[in-house]
Symmetry: C2
Subunit: 336 residues, 2 copies
């Protein structure tokens, strides 16, 4: 039953015990049809009896398929990525795949290490949320070496599978909503300067301001670390201006949570005093007090789609590049 430490039960051991060749055992395990019912049963029984464990790494050396993928994200502690990961895991489990996890904290150096790690371990593919500043060539090279799907952030001009939210549409809707509520001075807080997601979200805001001929005040467009603390600090700075905003559109929910706390620290109540809108709609958003108005990016679904896309790409390397933009819906709650 139990293995002797150091000695692994192999196909050969099973074959010896049954009195057939290891080819036969291998064929049984891969459900090959032309093994007699009797042999098959004896093999299966012996597999159980000896506690044989299939060595997928040995198999993958021959078949070149590891049933393992690499998942490279920014930070598992950000609920957006946790929900994303959960969706990915869900899809992988059903297909017998599993993910190697790497959090880069948006550091290019970590990202490079994870690329190497995943390739050395022969991942069948990679789901990647690229760190801001990733050179496009890096991704192009990677995607030639390994099936790759980008998630949540893309790189301009890089033709690779991608799944993300409709960022611009999302902030357009959010901005229209704020303007309808009478806001004219709308701040934008947070996001990694060079990420596609930030640029698209900011563009949505700017375009709607233009449409309504509301002058753009650059001093209200600030960046900050994508953490609660980042939002907390940044908003206090912004509110100190001579003509502070009456509404703030945040890069994402995590920043919005920080902004709400920062407003309170300035003795302002998020909602009544200053409107706050987030992006993502992580589970937490509806539970805050006040509940957070936000643009839904459906992270769990996004993860499922990314995993689906990757598995399709693995099966069919020549299929056309697919870029999925998931619809964004505005969810109005108490904070705006």
């Amino acid at each position: 039953m139990d293995q002797i430490p150091g000695h692994r039960v192999t196909l050969q051991d099973v074959a010896d015990a049954v009195g057939v060749s290891k080819s036969t055992v291998s064929l049984v395990l891969s459900n090959h049809p032309r093994i007699s019912q009797e042999t098959r049963q004896r093999v299966l029984d012996t597999v159980d009896e000896l506690g044989y464990v299939y060595d997928r790494r040995a198999a993958s050396l021959r078949t070149r398929q590891s049933f393992t993928i690499g998942l490279i994200i920014t930070d598992i502690t950000n609920p957006f990525y946790a929900e994303l990961t959960s969706g990915i895991e869900h899809t992988l489990l059903a297909k017998n795949y599993i993910a190697l996890l790497g959090s880069t904290t948006d550091l290019l150096q970590n990202q490079e290490r994870f690329f190497a790690t995943m390739r050395e371990r022969s991942a069948d593919g990679i789901i990647l949320c690229p760190a801001p500043g990733t050179p496009p060539e890096t991704i192009l090279r990677l995607s030639r070496q390994l099936p790759t799907v980008l998630i949540a952030r893309y790189l301009a001009g890089v033709d690779v599978d991608y799944v993300g939210a409709d960022n611009e549409l999302g902030t357009r809707r959010a901005t229209e909503h704020l303007i309808e509520r009478g806001h004219r001075r709308i701040a934008f807080v947070g996001g990694p300067q060079d990420s596609s997601a930030r640029q698209d979200r900011l563009r949505g805001l700017v375009s709607i301001l233009e449409k309504h001929r509301i002058p753009l005040d650059e001093s209200l467009m600030v960046t900050c670390a994508v953490t609660r603390n980042g939002g907390y600090t940044a908003i206090q700075q912004v509110m100190r201006a001579d003509d502070p905003p009456t509404a703030v559109l945040c890069y994402n929910d995590v920043v919005a949570f920080g902004v709400m706390l920062g407003l309170r620290a300035c003795d302002l109540e998020p909602g009544p005093d200053v409107a706050v809108v987030g992006f993502d709609d992580v589970n937490e958003a509806s539970l805050w007090n006040p509940s957070l108005s936000t643009v839904s990016a459906t992270p769990t679904e996004m993860g499922q789609h990314a995993a689906d896309l990757l598995l399709k790409r693995i099966e069919q390397p020549d299929r056309p590049i697919q870029q999925m933009i998931l619809p964004s819906t505005l969810i109005i709650r108490a904070s705006s």
Copy 2:
């Protein structure tokens, strides 16, 4: 530079290009000292030139070390596990290991699948938060097959490496605090019925009630799903009783968040009307409104310790079993 799809650059290719044997290349890559400086440099240059990628799975077939571990937790979407995972990742990164991630949602069936998955992929070890109801023999067998460390939940009588919080001490302190504040009717909400963590936390509460000769009311000790929603539903049930509690000690922070929301749904303000205390001190806890009093279980540190322990066990299989109980401190905030 780039590989031809399907063809992997191997040691042999590098050897051929340099004009040495693959043994020599291998020795260079493992930094073996007795290769001449000149050969070494030529090999290294060629490795770069050809874009050689080390095949760790082939290597591990010989060396029996994959530099990969399995991480099996309940739910990555629960911030406690996300912070745990972040701590684990941090330690692994420094030692060139990486984790295969599996979320069981506390289903034994998923857990079994992950055990198989991790073994098939030759993980060097496993960090496991066992699903409630896991038979002790399962863990014993697993730990004989593979270095194993349990995290956050242990199994009575199973002598395996373990890292967890001092659960009983934590809830003792929390209960003393509530009693000091004048509470007599204290509910306990949530937790997987058969988990060691729940039992220990509940025991802490009960022992302090006894110490103060406060009668125990079983109807106030309820269980629920370990989600915000679980706490939300459970507390509303509890508050409907004839003699409802004035304070509630929650299995963990996630349940406590749900409880706070549930109280509001009953028109009760957490803090002033009903005291609420959580367990874990996830990052979110200090940010809620009201901020959540809780017992700190330092999830990030817990993760780091678990990874350290596993790596030590891998290096030194015969070292004595180590069970680390991390000190619990009570953090009093606005909710109590």
